[in-house]
Every structure is written in C-alpha cells, then in structure tokens.
Symmetry: C2
Subunit: 233 residues, 2 copies
DNA sequence: CGACTGACCAAATGGCCAAAATGGTCAGTC
DNA sequence: GACTGACCATTTTGGCCATTTGGTCAGTCG
C-alpha cells in the first residue's frame, strides 16, 4: 500500500518472473536489482516504483509462490473432495506448499532466505499463518468436527505430533544429513499412510461429512489466500 | 589403531574431559589443541601421541558421548523392560542419543560439527549406524517379531515413517523455524503417544514377549556399542 | 629406554583497508 | 506522469600481512 503502483500490472509480473528465474539460478544473495531490471527489460528505478526495497520484492515473490500453491490445492480439492481425508490432504499440502522450488529454499535451511523472512515483520505474521504449524491446527480442527480425525486426543497435541511428522518427512527428503531408510513405494503414499495411522479414524464418516469438511477446508484456505493477497498484493 | 597409545588410559581420559569442557564452551572452531593440552595439564605433543589429528580427537569425543548414551539406555532398559514398548523406547532413545549436549550440536545443525562428521570417513560409517535411520530399522524389526509393533506394513516403510517422526520431533524442539504449536503435556508423552499410534499394536503381546524383545534390543545396542568402541577406541 | 615436552614450521585464520559492487534516489527524458 | 540510468552512501569483496594454529621432532627427564 505504500507503493503507488499495482503489483498485478503486466510490468510487475515481468519483473517478478525475471526475479524468480534469477533467484533460483544464483540464490538470494547473488541476485541484484540491476540484474533483475535488465532481465525484465526495465530500468532499475522502475523496480523501485513497485517495491520499496529488495526485501519487499523477494517477499512478494515467496508470497506469489504460496498463492499458486494454494490455488493448486484448492483446484485439486474441488475436483476430488475425497482428498480432504487427512492422509491425502497432508500429502497434497506438503507437495504443493513445501516442495515448490522457491519455498524449498526456506525449508531446506537456506540461511539467507530464513533470515529474510524472519526479519521481514510485515510478511512474517502473514506467512507464519501459512506455515505447517498453523495450518495443522486449523485444518485438524475442521477434520475433527466432521469425524475424519480421531478425537480421543487433545487438538493441540495431535497438531503438534502431525506437525512434527510433516517436518520430519520434509527434512528427510531435503536435508542429506537426515536421510531415511530406502523405500520402494512413493514417499507420498508412505506419508499418507503414516498420517492416517497418526490421526485417522477407523469409522468411515460418510460422503456427506467428507463434502462438508472439504467445503470448510477450502474456505479456510481461501481466507488464508485472501490475507496473503491483501498483505503482499 | 595407528596410534600406539591406548585411549582408555587415565591421561587420555583427562585430555578428553578437558576437550569436552572447552568444546562446549567455545565451540569446535575456537577450541585449540594447545588450549586443551594446557587444561589437561599435558604438553601439546602428548595429545598427538593419542590422536593423529584434531579431527580424530573430536570424533572420539562424540563417540564417547554416544557410548554413555547407549549405556544409559541399556541401564534404563534393564531396570524396566516395559520401556521396549515402541513409544517409550523412542522417547528414551531420542532423549539420550539426540539431546546430549555434544550430540545436540550435530542435530541442531552446527555447521562445523556436521562437516567434520561427514568428512571423517572412518567414523562416518560407524556413527551412521548409530543414526536414527539405522536404529529405527533394526529395532523395529525386533519389535515386530515379538508382536510389539504392527506388521501390516512393510518394515522399511514403517521405519521410514518412524524415522521422519523422530526427526520431526527433534527439529521441532531444536530449530526455531520449525517450532510447533504449544502443548501442555510433556513433549516426551506426546512423542510416545504418537509413536504408539504410528507403529503400535492394539493387542497386548504379553510379559514374556516384552522381556524377550528387551533382551534382543539390548543385544543390538550392545553390538553397536562394541562396534563404536573398537572403531573409535 | 621410552614417555613426554615445548620450541619450531608451514599452513590456515583474522583483521585491515582500498577497490568494486550494490541498494536505493532523483533530476531529467520521452 | 511513467520511466530511466547516472549518481551517492553503504556494504561487500579481495588482497595483503601479522598472528594463530595444527602438527612435528629433537631433546629432556624419570
């Protein structure tokens, strides 16, 4: 909002795209505004018409990445409501939110990226809500209500454990030091099964409950999307 | 074995103790051999009678730490065989193996420590067997045999998932970025419960099976201990 | 004789400073 | 009035040198 130029203009898009490509190639530290401007075919000053600082630009980049991930999740969920079942849903979210090229840098421990996001106060509070820990609690709450998740444990403990499991799968796949035993099946399938065991219900809640849960989860994700859009626009 | 001096002599012990204290205080990079020698009340050359390089000394230090952890686990297991039950056992191992002051440096991502262990070929193969991934597979195999762990999933997938869960709990507690939702109960209890859900059996295998499993697990841990002792002295 | 030492050496480290590069601005162009 | 690139202050880089450090070994001492 302090910037007078709309971030969804075609020029802003070109800048973001150029920035994304260069960032993936050189890393956060090496990429320069001059380089981005040149690649986008605009002057250096133009970049600063859209974002006040380099940090803002990069944060916006991550924000856009999260948005497309959310869209993709929503699309899948609308196409097949059965994907709300905890195991499937976790795999879906993990793949889309954490495995995207940019976001991966955060979760594979990129020092620059981590520091940037942590120090960027405005985005911090927003993107924190997109973090696994927040999503876990929100989504688990919904799934519990509709009988898709066992309710014989307190929500926060369930959320804590699920969060740990997701972080663990993430780390196991991205950080060499944490590599796990070899498996034949796809990692997604193992994850889905593990989540099912951890929080799943034995009784089938029925189609109606699944559909209701799907709607509600999509609503929550939509709200998150909205929040990110308005804050990072 | 290339060093002519026994590592369990009282002098070696004094050097190791001094090294441990200084290492915890200053970090790996800052601690110097001269400092260690002085603190141990020996000449610098003497240190090199026991270990060929500084790296070897530090690796030996980590090895000793793992050994005391293994001893502690074994002691607890012998005092209360019920601790073999997967949930309890995982909590026990996690606390003792990963939370020890020195080892923590490894798992909380200390750059120096990680590089050191990764590059040190001799120790690498040995300490790798003490890593969660290897332990998971070995121990799970035993617990499955005695009906303490469900067998409706392949061992390697079970091991992969359990390993991820443990890594996740570890990361959640040590790395700020991965912090999870707040919980009231002790993290150990949540961990034990989660492990129980993930791999536990519903049917009680009976006292005899528990005792048999305990013996076998202790044997495996003892072999690991032996291996570390012979390779790192 | 042999465990032990600390002065000694080559290599790595850290501080220092000038040169280059970079984030950010703004007077001026189209 | 959208856009630019020369310009400035600040940061980063690279090279230099004094200091430190890992590792050795001729010599001491029990």
């Amino acid at each position: 909002m302090p910037q007078p130029f709309e971030h969804d203009s075609p020029k802003a898009f070109r800048i973001l795209s150029a920035a994304r490509e260069l960032l993936l190639e050189h890393g956060i530290r090496k990429v320069t505004i001059a380089e981005i401007a040149r690649a986008a075919g605009v002057g250096k000053g133009t970049v600063y018409l859209y974002w006040a600082t380099k940090e803002d630009l990069i944060v916006a980049l991550f924000g856009r990445e999260v948005l497309t991930a959310l869209d993709e999740i929503d699309r899948a969920l609308s196409a097949d409501p059965e994907l709300v079942r905890p195991g499937r849903l976790c795999a879906l979210i993990l793949r889309n939110m954490l495995n995207r090229a940019l976001a991966r840098r955060l979760h594979s421990g990129d020092e620059d990226a981590l520091r940037l996001m942590a120090h960027h106060s405005a985005s911090g509070s927003v993107l924190a809500r997109a973090a696994p820990s927040a999503l876990c609690t929100d989504v688990l709450g919904i799934l519990r209500e509709h009988g898709l998740v066992r309710v014989d444990r307190p929500l926060n403990e369930q959320s804590y454990a699920l969060h740990a499991l997701l972080v663990g799968f993430m780390a196991t796949e991205t950080v060499a030091w944490f590599a796990g035993p070899a498996i034949e099946s796809s990692s997604d399938q193992v994850l889905a099964d593990a989540v099912g065991l951890l929080v799943g219900h034995t009784a089938d809640p029925g189609h109606e409950a699944v559909r209701a849960a799907t709607t509600q989860v999509r609503t929550v994700l939509g709200e998150l999307r909205e929040e990110i859009t308005t804050h990072l626009g």
